[in-house]
């Protein structure tokens, strides 16, 4: 396992603070008051059982869903997102589980999808591949060539390309939704290493995962969600996996407390 510095040492200035976030879908109350804080260069693990509200919360932060009540503070300013574009303009990036890549386009085309460099009316392919190669090398993404089609890549490589694309937007906050699900062991290591490299650049990373061992590999701190609430917040160095499982399942909490 990787050694960790203390939470406060690695977590720089607070980038994002969520306070009392609520969200209902009809009669279903998905978020019942969530608090969350993320510092620059910090990797925060967001964990909880299925239906705990992790993905909903992250969609709120990424601007894909509008929250009902509560506040979002980014860089000391209170903001309200109406669309993903609003979140992007605050330098908040997200990589969803489906990665949003195009299988039949090559790596460079995927990295620059929607903002391809141009020379006159034409796509400047030389420049696009050069920048893509630079981007991938910096993040140590292992692909054979920027000309490789995404469909030819392994799950880990695809994930790495998706993260590289998100990083290329120069986010201050990067949300990763289950980036290591269904990956081979070696690929998990590649993705986790990439997460550390991204955080080392001062980016605050929020990692949603069911693979608890990943949290101990890469996170500084974890926030546990349970039935739409944030119920625990702790430095990973103070936890072991059994305690963490107990926090997620609330097995060491009475029903009244959990509610």
């Amino acid at each position: 396992m990787m050694s960790h510095e203390s939470t406060d040492a690695r977590a720089g200035d607070t980038l994002v603070t969520l306070e009392g976030i609520t969200k209902s879908f009809g009669a279903v109350q998905s978020l019942r008051g969530v608090d969350l804080r993320l510092g620059a260069g910090e990797v925060l693990g967001l964990v909880g059982d299925n239906g705990a509200g992790k993905s909903t919360l992250m969609k709120v932060l990424a601007g894909a869903i509008r929250h009902d009540a509560g506040s979002i503070t980014v860089g000391g300013r209170q903001v309200r997102f109406h669309s993903p574009a609003d979140a992007r303009s605050e330098h908040i990036g997200i990589v969803y589980q489906d990665l949003a890549l195009c299988d039949t386009l090559d790596v460079a085309s995927n990295l620059f999808l929607g903002r391809e460099p141009r020379r006159g009316p034409f796509v400047d392919r030389g420049e696009m591949h050069r920048q893509a190669a630079e981007m991938l090398s910096t993040l140590h993404v292992r692909v054979r060539s920027t000309h490789q089609e995404i469909g030819e890549l392994s799950g880990g490589q695809r994930q790495a390309v998706a993260i590289a694309r998100a990083v290329s937007f120069q986010p201050k906050v990067l949300i990763l939704d289950e980036p290591t699900a269904a990956l081979a062991v070696a690929e998990v290591r590649q993705v986790l290493r990439m997460i550390r490299e991204v955080a080392a650049r001062g980016v605050g990373v929020i990692l949603i995962t069911h693979r608890l061992q990943d949290l101990f590999e890469v996170c500084d701190r974890i926030t546990v969600m349970y039935e739409g609430r944030s119920v625990e917040d702790a430095a990973i160095a103070d936890l072991d996996i059994e305690t963490l499982v107990g926090m997620i399942t609330r097995s060491n909490t009475t029903t009244e407390e959990a509610a």
């Binding site: 386009l105 391809e116 796509v123």
Partner: protein, 340 residues
């Protein structure tokens, strides 16, 4: 304990891959079929490999190719346009009718192109913005558009005065090839640039593979899909004018089954019938194959009724290669790939 992970070997990631790695394998297979057909027909009929016949073949293929180039974009986005034959007939009939009314040729050409564009826009709007599957929209349009043409001409073929400019387009030649062939070549060049060198082409390929991914990248995918159907409408409009010019008349019964020939040409060339991967070079090859089969069999004195049967069989073989060729190509690249 801190785990040390060694740096990956630094290679020139941006280096252009070899020709073989880049090329569409299904297209290469079809190029092989083209060469085989050339040799086969050349041996079977002494008149096949003459310049006159090649020029004739280019003219025969031209109209199919013009629409097939546009259809490549439609199919690559994962859509289909079944109405192109009807649009050709509508515009051909309209061209003849308007010329009979005494309108100037240049105006008739513009109106013909706009009519094609109009039908394409209707198809595109209903498919892309009203979410009706393009198969259904264009199937209905196929019936409606030809219906209008029949209603207008009452089923009669309308002659065009051979002295008019439009009629002369059908007879014009340059360097031994017809104007139609040159127009088709120009369309192919423009189509090739649009598909492989411009953002539009990338989005067309991307939409066919994963539309949602392209949409999330901030691209207006509905607009792109609508534009592709407008392109087939426009191309069918041009094909309608050229059909009238070549035949010297406009008929609502023209271009029956034309949509299948066009789709066959596109798929034969290696464009994925289910979208995501399009090739203009392949479409040119596909159009040549369909034209060559008809031309070669005619020169061999085979019954013309055999042509659709042979074309159909070649199409099935091509789709088989289209589907299997990709897995063979994947196997090949897996075997030749360096470990990363």
């Amino acid at each position: 304990m801190t785990t040390q992970v060694e740096s990956p070997p630094q290679r020139d990631l941006a280096a252009e891959p070899s020709w073989w790695e880049r090329v569409n394998k299904a297209t290469v297979a079809m190029l092989g079929v083209t060469v085989a057909l050339f040799i086969g027909f050349g041996l079977a009929s002494p008149n096949f490999l003459t310049f006159d016949n090649m020029s004739n073949l280019a003219t025969q293929v031209a109209i199919t190719l013009i629409v097939a180039i546009a259809m490549t974009f439609v199919i690559t986005t994962g859509q289909i346009d079944l109405s192109v034959g009807s649009t050709v007939a509508f515009v051909a009939a309209m061209t003849a009718e308007l010329l009979q009314l005494g309108l100037d040729s240049s105006l008739v050409i513009v109106v013909g192109l706009l009519a094609g564009l109009f039908w394409g826009s209707v198809n595109g709007w209903l498919s892309a913005y009203q979410n009706i599957p393009p198969f259904i929209v264009t199937l209905a349009a196929m019936s409606i558009i030809r219906g209008f043409a029949l209603l207008w001409t009452e089923g009669f073929s309308v002659p065009i005065d051979r002295r008019l400019f439009v009629a002369k387009i059908g007879e014009a030649e340059f360097l031994g090839f017809s104007a139609l062939a040159w127009i088709a070549l120009a369309t192919a060049v423009v189509g090739g640039i649009l598909l492989s060198r411009m953002r539009f082409g990338r989005y067309v390929n991307g939409i066919g593979a994963q539309e949602e991914s392209v949409r999330r990248a901030g691209v207006n995918t509905r607009r792109i899909k609508m534009i592709t159907l407008m392109l087939t409408g426009l191309a069918a409009g041009a094909a309608g004018i050229l059909t009238a010019a070549r035949l010297g008349s406009g008929s609502a019964n023209a271009a029956e089954g034309f949509e299948l020939t066009v789709i066959a040409a596109v798929v034969l060339g290696g464009t994925n019938l289910f979208g995501g991967r399009g090739t203009i070079v392949g479409t040119v090859i596909g159009a040549l194959i369909t034209g060559m089969i008809a031309n070669g069999l005619t020169l061999m004195g085979v019954s013309p009724f055999l042509t659709p049967i042979v074309t159909g069989l070649v199409l099935i073989a091509a789709i088989w290669i289209n589907l299997r060729g990709r897995s063979l190509a994947q196997l090949f690249s897996h075997l030749t790939a360096r470990r990363t």
